[in-house]
């Protein structure tokens, strides 16, 4: 084990579900403040890679390092749970289907974890909820339940919920692909705002335009490997691999 030199370091990540090998020796570094996009066709392993970073889908091989600490280190169960809960507090995750807690208001969704895990005072909790919901433009709906919100509003609350833990890294797994087209922009705007604040982000997306506009680097994945990566200006305009070209051609045709 060598010392980590990058903010996020994925070393030879390998993941199998039974006989199905979903990630095949993926290595990837992300620097602090960088925004990395991951594109690729369905089933290529994008979500699995993202979910490996916070150990929702534990790797079957390889290492994940975050800010100098190995995420998937070998520890006895109890110690590992404690370690992973601490690690996860540093990593915000946004899901395709929002996964808001339906029995809690927007405010409670945002404050439940910080209240429970950081022991904030009631005044701090109220301030945090207002701050975070204001940031995503949801302050007026602070006491609404998820069932009373549109998809775009739900996703913005879900982002606020993740941000309330003050993560060092944000993971987005197709945050807009369950949304009606007219609701996509409001969520993208929130993500752009985070980009301007230099939040480190890894974004799995099907939206090439969005990836091109916010990402510093884009990775194209296919069948469990990173086929090609580079700045969006290069990857989208002058891909070097046939598979990338084909994917982009299909995707851009499909979109228009």
């Amino acid at each position: 084990m060598t010392e980590q030199t990058h903010f996020v370091e994925i070393r030879h990540a390998q993941k199998s579900f039974g006989a199905l090998e979903v990630l095949k020796d993926i290595s990837l570094n992300v620097e602090r403040g960088q925004i990395v996009g991951i594109i690729g066709s369905s089933g290529s392993g994008k979500s699995t890679l993202l979910r490996a970073i916070n150990d929702l889908d534990p790797l079957t091989g390889g290492e994940i390092w975050l800010d100098g600490v190995q995420v998937n280190k070998t520890l006895p169960h109890r110690q590992y749970e404690k370690h992973i809960n601490e690690m996860r507090q540093n990593v915000g995750m946004v899901f395709q289907h929002f996964n808001l807690f339906p029995h809690m208001t927007a405010r409670e969704n945002v404050t439940m974890a910080p209240k429970l895990l950081k022991g904030l005072s009631q005044a701090d909790v109220d301030k945090l909820a207002e701050e975070q919901l204001d940031k995503v433009g949801m302050l007026e709906r602070i006491d609404y339940y998820p069932s009373q919100l549109s998809g775009g509003q739900k996703q913005r609350v879900a982002i606020a919920r993740a941000l309330a833990m003050k993560p060092k890294l944000m993971l987005f797994d197709e945050a807009t692909s369950a949304l009606d087209p007219e609701l996509v922009e409001e969520v993208n705007l929130v993500m752009k705002k985070l980009a301007e604040e230099h939040m480190t982000m890894i974004i799995v997306t099907h939206e090439m335009d969005f990836a091109a506009s916010v990402c510093d680097r884009v990775l194209f994945m296919d069948k469990g490997v990173v086929v090609e990566e580079g700045p969006p200006s290069v990857l989208f305009k002058n891909p070097t691999q046939d598979r990338t070209r084909e994917f982009l051609r299909k995707h851009i045709e499909g979109a228009s």
């Binding site: 749970e81 809960n85 601490e86 996860r88 507090q89 996964n99 439940m112 429970l116 833990m165």
Partner: protein
């Protein structure tokens, strides 16, 4: 139909109905405890506990409650378990009801989308914190109605303890048949009282269900 006779014995039946109610309440409490433990075992990360939970459910749902009662009450003393009839009734029926409730509670827990637990864990909650903050409050809403069905079955199952001579409604009806020779009237009276108990309970469950569904 001898209505006069029914009115005459009615107070004694009412007393017996109280025994049925107390028996039901105690059985329900024990059932809930067993059901909660059973569901926790069935959902445990330890294979041995999962096995024990599954075995509990299949043994107690797979044999007649009456046989379970007989084993406990008549067979118990042979293996050093001395219980009076009422105790045996509560314990036997409670453990039996717990097997059904295990499945109800487990069902309401696994019915919650797995994204809910993932979202909670992603925020840094431990498995137990995710369970009690996120899963159980949602499961509770799903549980009320099916637990109400379990309760309905359990109340009716209390009639079985007549077979070990607990003086509840069914046993009381049988006893008065011995002196009046009017089985129709006696069982009808018992049936009416069961129906009232079950109706009131059902309304209570419906009220609770509405209350937890708000929003």
């Amino acid at each position: 139909m001898d209505i006069d006779l029914m009115l005459k014995v009615y107070p004694f039946f009412l007393e017996a109905a109280w025994v049925t109610i107390v028996l039901s309440v105690l059985t329900a409490i024990l059932g809930l405890i067993c059901g909660t433990l059973g569901a926790a075992a069935r959902l445990s990360r330890f294979a041995l506990l999962r096995f024990l939970g599954a075995a509990y459910v299949s043994v107690f749902r797979g044999t007649p409650a009456l046989i379970q009662l007989f084993i406990l009450y008549f067979g118990g003393p042979q293996i050093g378990i001395q219980l009076d009839a009422f105790e045996a009734g509560v314990i036997g029926l409670g453990i039996n009801a717990g097997a059904y409730m295990t499945e109800t509670i487990r069902g309401a827990i696994i019915a919650i989308d797995k994204g809910q637990r993932e979202a909670a864990r992603t925020l840094g909650l431990s498995s137990w914190q995710a369970t009690y903050k996120v899963i159980l409050p949602q499961s509770a809403r799903l549980m009320v109605r099916p637990l109400g069905v379990n309760l309905n079955m359990l109340i009716k199952a209390t009639a079985l303890v007549a077979a070990i001579a607990v003086v509840e409604l069914t046993y009381t009806a049988q006893r008065y048949i011995g002196s009046t020779y009017k089985p129709f009237e006696m069982f009808l009276l018992a049936g009416i009282l069961y129906m009232i108990i079950i109706y009131v309970t059902g309304r209570g469950v419906a009220w609770l269900d509405r209350k937890v569904q708000i929003n």
